[in-house]
């Protein structure tokens, strides 16, 4: 059975154009970019060309782009690198309750090493309050880290406004833009972003490649020590093929963004509205419009997310959930709880993320299959039985 893929926020297939572009770097142009002979210099040239492309797409300068192995590494580096470099100046960091664990766990690590961290609340749509952000800034604040787009609910934060606040207070601004790059417009100049994390495999480049944008002059310690790669900031022989692939994917995404956003938004709205209409006692999680074009996250009362995913899988559909049972802990998604959802609704959430390969037929198929799946699980649910009894009593 062909898998109907609705988990583009988890990862995406490498695009054909990208795959064709990077193939020669596994064989013909295999040289080490640090070698002085031609073969090495050709690889070096490929990296520098890629760096120019990435810089152009983000609106930064070529010497402000540093390649890493993934989005998590970029997040770790941004927080730890800045914290170490500025610890004499201050020990306070501001972030949010809905960050990816790559930021949250790094922030917690820093708390264990003498830093204090403010975790901003979000409203029911997942947006931070700019007032609260500004109020949280103290003379000791060295860094603000707010994600561009949330991986679970797709909510887009007001980066430009956050950048302006950070600038006004002389605080550095990092954004985890892993879910946003290639999907929504970003400009490090216009948004006054000092550090930006991104990852390749969310936009059709291979897994194992990421980058950190670091504004020139930003105090930051190197992350990996060793050779002189990436201007001695991040040692390790460069992943040449994937760097080339990342640049290609970012260039393509930038070219196609307007058209693809319009296409995906139509499909997303069809999916969200169709499910809300067909499945009673359901709700959308995240902001209805300030949202990634491909993100659809809903909660279905009285049922549990993993069960839904298993039945979707049996129907050939790949999706994900904020249920505890998919994370290996008892607690459901910290993001959904931060929105104020009950544990029950957080356990009953499902995320569909649409991407390049998503078609209207696939959306229609989910709309056809999911209502029956939820109905089937509700038949099994003691919570639904309670609810029906209560409703009956109230109407009698």
């Amino acid at each position: 059975m062909k898998t109907i893929y609705f988990d583009y926020a988890a990862t995406s297939p490498v695009r054909n154009e990208v795959f064709e572009e990077i193939k020669p770097y596994f064989s013909s142009f295999f040289g080490n970019p640090s070698s002085i002979y031609q073969l090495g210099q050709e690889a070096k040239q490929a990296i520098e060309t890629a760096r120019q492309t990435v810089a152009r797409v983000l609106g930064g300068r070529t010497d402000e782009i540093f390649f890493t192995s993934c989005g998590s590494e970029s997040d770790n580096w941004a927080l730890r690198g800045v914290a170490e470099a500025l610890q004499q100046k201050g020990n306070h960091i501001i972030t949010t309750k809905i960050e990816h664990h790559a930021v949250l766990h790094t922030a917690q690590y820093l708390e264990r090493h003498g830093f204090t961290v403010t975790y901003l609340d979000v409203d029911q749509d997942g947006l931070i309050s700019l007032e609260e952000l500004e109020k949280a800034i103290t003379p000791k604040t060295i860094l603000i880290s707010v994600m561009a787009a949330n991986n679970e609910i797709g909510t887009l934060q007001p980066l430009k406004e956050i950048g302006a606040i950070a600038k006004r207070h002389g605080v550095l601004f990092h954004t985890d833009a892993v879910q946003a790059v290639g999907h929504v417009p970003l400009d490090v100049e216009e948004m006054q972003i000092d550090l930006l994390s991104l990852s390749g495999h969310k936009l059709g480049a291979p897994k194992g490649i990421g980058a950190l944008y670091i504004r020139k002059g930003t105090p930051i310690h190197p992350f990996l020590l060793g050779g002189g790669q990436e201007k001695k900031q991040r040692a390790g022989t460069e992943n040449v093929a994937s760097i080339v692939g990342l640049a290609k994917a970012m260039a393509l995404a930038a070219e196609e963004m307007e058209e693809e956003t319009a296409r995906l938004t139509v499909l997303r709205e069809k999916l969200i509205n169709g499910l809300l209409e067909k499945i009673p006692h359901s709700q959308v999680n995240g902001h209805r419009t300030k949202r990634l074009p491909g993100n659809c996250n809903l909660s279905f009362a009285f049922v549990e997310g993993e069960s839904i995913l298993m039945l979707l899988d049996a129907a050939g559909i790949a999706a994900s959930s904020g249920s505890a049972c998919t994370s290996g802990s008892l607690d459901p998604s910290h993001v959904l709880l931060a929105l104020g959802l009950s544990h029950e609704l957080a356990h009953g959430s499902v995320r569909f993320t649409l991407g390049l390969g998503t078609t209207e037929e696939e959306v229609d198929y989910v709309l056809e299959v999911l209502p029956d799946i939820v109905a089937r699980l509700r038949e099994m649910s003691p919570l639904y039985e309670d609810f029906m009894k209560k409703t009956k009593e109230e109407t009698v």
Binding site: E304, A324, C325, S342, H347, M380
Partner: protein, 139 residues
């Protein structure tokens, strides 16, 4: 991740539903940890003649409820008390480590239903203790 038997009991659950007039009802778990199980039993002359379940929870929770009710049907109360979480897990060809608590929940739900039966009939069942109100933090 799951054995074929777990998948079978999840996709085709046995004994799902409610009884018209159950002799004992047990409900355990909470929405916080994501699993709630309800077991209903018919008991005649010390023998469990029928068992039904309803479960809010993950695949393993549904499969363990299905298997646990299957295992106790036709058994005497004392025999049913031997249906431990380990027995349920073995009958399902094992569970992933993070799902072991689901089998504990199934055992608790059975015991809670038997306790309810004993309470209603003024009986004392050897080896059976009052169910724990909240076993959300049982591991």
């Amino acid at each position: 991740m799951y054995s074929q038997k777990v998948m079978d009991h999840f996709m085709n659950p046995r004994n799902m539903g409610s009884l018209a007039q159950p002799d004992g009802v047990g409900r355990v778990g909470n929405a916080k940890c994501g699993d709630i199980m309800q077991v209903e039993l018919s008991i005649q002359d010390d023998v469990i003649t029928d068992a039904k379940f309803k479960t809010f929870g993950c695949g393993a929770a549904i499969a363990t409820s299905s298997m646990a009710t299957e295992l106790v049907k036709g058994k005497t109360i004392q025999e049913a008390l031997q249906v431990t979480n380990r027995a349920v897990m073995e009958a399902l060809d094992g569970l992933p480590p993070v799902k072991v608590h689901c089998s504990l929940l199934a055992e608790e739900a059975l015991h809670a239903a038997l306790w309810d039966y004993a309470q209603k009939n003024g009986l004392e069942i050897e080896g059976l203790e009052a169910p724990v109100e909240d076993i959300g933090d049982h591991h």
